[in-house]
């Protein structure tokens, strides 16, 4: 039977590095997804994952074992991502979202009358605008939205990760969705 996170965390706190390895292997992928959606960049996301585990290891003694290790790691990774995005913006101004390979564009695979060049160009444009609209969200809005929308956390859990009341988390999600709708609705309506 697979050990629970809580049992493994107890061993890791006692200094068992093998136990910490299990936690790293178990949570790396979900942290990468979160970090990628927060930073919009693969290399940055990988740096965030590593940095998050290093921070977690150093702070393991202060971890409340009654809490969820996954939620705690999300909080650390969200903070690492925010630090990195802020540092990046400070160093080089706004970071332009990477122009992905359009041939693999999921928008182009939506049911349609066929992938006409216009449709492919439009879908690429939409994705670019989605990334841009995400960049326009404040750190709290972006974090709350990523956790609610992509990670499927309920508002209470989002609040726990952000260390705020569920009501405040809810408002961050509302503001994020409203901003995204204002930025993207005109374009999405054209693509219908």
């Amino acid at each position: 039977m697979e050990l629970t996170d809580a049992a493994i965390v107890s061993r890791a706190r006692a200094g068992d590095a093998d136990a910490f390895r299990v936690l790293v292997e178990r949570h790396s992928r979900s942290l990468f997804r979160l970090a990628f959606r927060m930073t919009g960049n693969q290399q940055d996301a990988e740096d965030v994952v590593q940095d998050s585990f290093l921070r977690a290891y150093r702070q393991l003694a202060g971890f409340d074992e009654r809490a969820s290790f996954g939620t705690w790691m999300y909080r650390i990774a969200a903070n690492c991502s925010l630090d990195l995005v802020r540092a990046r913006n400070r160093r080089s101004g706004r970071h332009a979202p990477a122009d992905e390979d359009r041939a693999e564009d999921p928008m182009a695979q939506l049911p349609s009358n066929g992938p006409t060049p216009e449709r492919i160009a439009l879908s690429g444009e939409i994705r670019h605008r989605v990334a841009e609209a995400m960049e326009e969200l404040s750190p709290a809005e972006r974090t709350a939205f990523v956790l609610r929308h992509f990670e499927g956390m309920r508002m209470e859990e989002v609040g726990r990760v952000l260390e705020c009341q569920p009501g405040a988390a809810k408002h961050s999600v509302f503001r994020a969705v409203q901003k995204l709708r204002r930025a993207l609705d005109p374009l999405v309506s054209v693509a219908k």
Partner: protein
């Protein structure tokens, strides 16, 4: 008729609206709310199409390989170690006793006891690998401080903890470097050690002014440059056989 607010529609989309049936009924009857909800669905569905890069199946194991060497040693390692480790240690110790007994019975005393004479070249390489790792981690701490937001106060308690670990670790390297006559390495380690010690013993909260002073000091003493130069020399002198195997700690 009371329309559903945008907030209610968002909660409905995520399945967190308290009265789902009432919201559904309202959407069936109200074209205005239906249009707004349709717009919301379209936008959120489009956001879903942002791709996330595919990761290799062994991604977690690779993350572990990258961070393992950077983890500070924790107390309590042996008590938490699995039982087989105790058994292996016990078996090894018992083996040593038997070997010592047999050796005492069958071999004459040699005039000069040949305690495992370490190969000086191997010694030097092990030192270089350990120093390279130490420099890399010291550089990470100092770069984090040098790149911190210059306008906001900063909590450096986690950097202090790492600096403290590094200081206690560096003594051994410095002593070994002095002992082997490697004064260049010893001098740089001295410089790095002084800065790390000041960080470890200083306040946990740095004001923007204190942070700026720290940055100026790093620049004036050329600490990061010295670390880079020494790291580069260390890498050049490290033989491939001196690299620790995955999972091995120095």
């Amino acid at each position: 008729m009371n329309h559903l607010s945008e907030e209610q529609l968002i909660l409905h989309y995520y399945g967190e609206e308290g009265d789902t049936l009432a919201a559904e009924r309202h959407l069936d009857e109200c074209a205005e709310c239906r249009a707004l909800y349709g717009s919301l669905q379209r936008v959120l569905n489009v956001v879903d199409t942002l791709p996330v890069p595919e990761l290799a199946p062994d991604y977690g194991a690779r993350v572990w390989q990258r961070i393992e060497r950077q983890l500070p040693a924790r107390r309590g390692w042996w008590p938490a170690a699995p039982v087989w480790r105790w058994m292996a240690a016990g078996a090894a110790f018992a083996g040593l006793l038997v070997a010592a007994f047999v050796a005492g019975r069958f071999y004459q005393r040699s005039p000069a006891p040949a305690i495992a004479q370490a190969d000086p070249a191997a010694h030097e390489k092990i030192l270089l690998v350990a120093v390279g790792d130490y420099l890399e981690r010291s550089q990470m701490v100092l770069i984090e401080l040098a790149n911190a937001n210059p306008k906001a106060p900063l909590d450096i308690s986690s950097e202090q903890e790492r600096a403290g670990d590094l200081v206690s670790e560096s003594r051994l390297y410095r002593q070994t470097a002095v002992h082997t006559g490697d004064t260049a390495v010893a001098n740089v380690l001295d410089d790095v050690d002084r800065v790390l010690m000041d960080i470890a013993r200083g306040p946990s909260q740095l004001s923007p002014e204190e942070l700026e002073k720290m940055r100026q000091r790093l620049e004036a003493e050329g600490i990061l440059l010295k670390i880079r130069v020494l790291s580069s020399n260390v890498r050049n002198h490290e033989g491939p056989e001196a690299q620790p195997a995955a999972g091995q700690k120095l």
